[in-house]
């Protein structure tokens, strides 16, 4: 029982991180119908920025986080300007291939810049686990759950309650109509990318201290984000969050109780089952036609 609790806690934390990444991913998809294959790299870059800020610039940790957020916002904007903007209106496949190219550029650029060796990310907290109701939890885990929870709440407020949020929703639903209503569609799209960058950035900063920071950490993150969005219903914003948490928990329970051997295949197996049986996921819209 104690072990179940432990696994649930860890699974929840990982799930929250998947959910963050998936959320940004879905936002981009809704805004411009693009599957961002470079999503994992945003997470990775942010983790590296974090390491640089904390160790190279020797900034106090809280300030480092803040600096990284600014950096990621700028980064998201620049990337969007250089790669998405020139391609707006082009066929979807073209843009998707472009994001794959971006994935390669970021991954290898990072390797050339920071070297192939993994780096260590300092943590706010001690590594010593605390005991909460008989479960051993590392403070970082609670921090993750707390932070992501707050971020989701803030995001919800922004999306549903502010003017900007409404404009984003409108643009996602129908860019032409939005334009006719006077919404600066290009700006909103840029904002979406920046927001995505910040969400992925947060994920990177949360992941960094628990794991080592390596240039290839993006790949696994991307796949999990895919899975999360499919489970939750592709294109659904709450779906991404629910899907992410669900995936995190199911993954760890499967590894614990079924087989560690096939843990990585499990994610894909689940996706395929869902796609074949209930492709709309938990919240999504209808996606397949009857034969």
């Amino acid at each position: 029982m104690q072990h179940l609790g432990q696994m649930l806690a860890n699974g929840l934390a990982m799930g929250c991180i998947y959910a963050l990444v998936a959320l940004g991913f879905v936002l981009v998809y809704r805004a411009v119908a693009v599957i961002n294959f470079a999503q994992g790299e945003f997470v990775m870059i942010s983790a590296f920025f974090g390491v640089m800020a904390a160790t190279l610039l020797r900034l106090p940790l809280a300030l480092s986080y803040f600096v990284v957020f600014l950096a990621m916002a700028a980064f998201g904007f620049i990337i969007q300007r250089l790669t998405y903007y020139p391609l707006r209106g082009k066929p979807h496949l073209t843009v998707v291939i472009c994001t794959v190219g971006l994935h390669i550029v970021l991954k290898n650029g990072a390797r050339l810049l920071w070297g192939p060796y993994p780096l260590s990310f300092p943590s706010f907290f001690r590594r010593e686990p605390m005991e909460v109701m008989g479960i051993l939890i590392v403070p970082q885990t609670l921090f993750i759950i707390g932070v992501t929870g707050s971020l989701f709440f803030l995001f919800y407020l922004f999306f549903k309650k502010t003017m900007m949020g409404y404009m984003m929703q409108a643009t996602a639903q129908d860019p032409e109509a939005a334009r006719l209503m006077g919404i600066r569609v290009d700006r909103i799209i840029a904002l979406t990318f920046v927001l995505n960058s910040l969400l992925a950035g947060a994920a990177g900063l949360l992941l960094g201290p628990i794991f080592l920071v390596t240039t290839d950490m993006g790949g696994a993150v991307l796949i999990k984000a895919f899975c999360a969005t499919i489970i939750g219903g592709f294109g659904s914003v709450p779906g991404a969050v629910v899907g992410g948490v669900f995936l995190g928990i199911v993954e760890i329970l499967a590894a614990g109780y079924v087989s560690t051997f096939f843990k990585d295949g499990l994610a894909f197996g689940v996706i395929i089952l869902i796609l074949l049986l209930a492709p709309q996921g938990i919240f999504g819209e209808k996606v397949a036609e009857r034969a």
Partner: protein, 318 residues
Amino acid sequence: MKDRMKSYSQALWISIGSMIILLFPLIVSQYYQQLGCVAGVYAILVLGYDFILGRAGQFSLGHIAFFGIGAYTSALLSVNWSVPFWLALPAAALASSLFGLFIGVPVLRLRGPYLAIATLGFAEIVRLILSRWDRVTRGVDGIAGIKAPTIGPLIFDNTVSFYYIILFFLVLMIFIAERIHRGKYGRLLMAIRENELAAEVMGIDTSKGKIMAFVLSALYAGVAGSLYAHLFSYISPETFDIEHAIVILYMLIIGGSGSTAGAILGAVLLTFLPEWLRFLKDYYLLLYGIGIILMMIFMPYGIIGLIRQLRLQVFSNH
């Protein structure tokens, strides 16, 4: 007069081109012979990919799995039961096609990103099975000692001779592809790609069309897989992973999807290019990625697409 000149010069270019392709392995070093062989195998593979992605317009990312199924079928037949190449290859093509059918029927109901992710997932699962099912596939060790093709007393176990075998199959597969594309079925696929809903309304059985395209693509991949296995005489699951799936996607897109010439061009180019760029050492992949991005911005329809555009402009100027 001008027309006759044009057809003469076309014939001349084709003759020169054919001569170069035929004599290629005899004049270059073994390094380039090998590259030629690999390029040929990938040309067949990408030609197959064109059926489902280029012509039918379905965003499948799982093509690499059929490559793997073909390669492993051929390899296991050869190593376990000494099945000769000329039987193993058709068996591999059949095996891949069957998988194409099994997977295609349920999966092709999906559209767009869902299809992409489902097919990607399928490819990953195939790779995992190839890596873990030790008893059958030898797992991560791979399969060594795959036998070279023989015709009577002749053994085709060096790069030069194998080149001609690959060339034979490439020409055969191009011929078949062109017949299909120029026929009724080819137009059916184009209709599905351009506007699936309209095609259905017109009475076209789009499901059947898509599944056929998928099966055809799997068949081609099976042939390519078998050739690959016998060329290298060793295969391992890592050749059939997502990284390689992305490479064949690039080959088709950069060459120009929806075009036979594009598929072949892309395969050949992206086989030779990494080798020519070896001098870039560490920086190679970075520049490769930047190249992809630039290409998508400036040449979204691939090289063939660009050539077609230029031709149109030239003609419209007359």
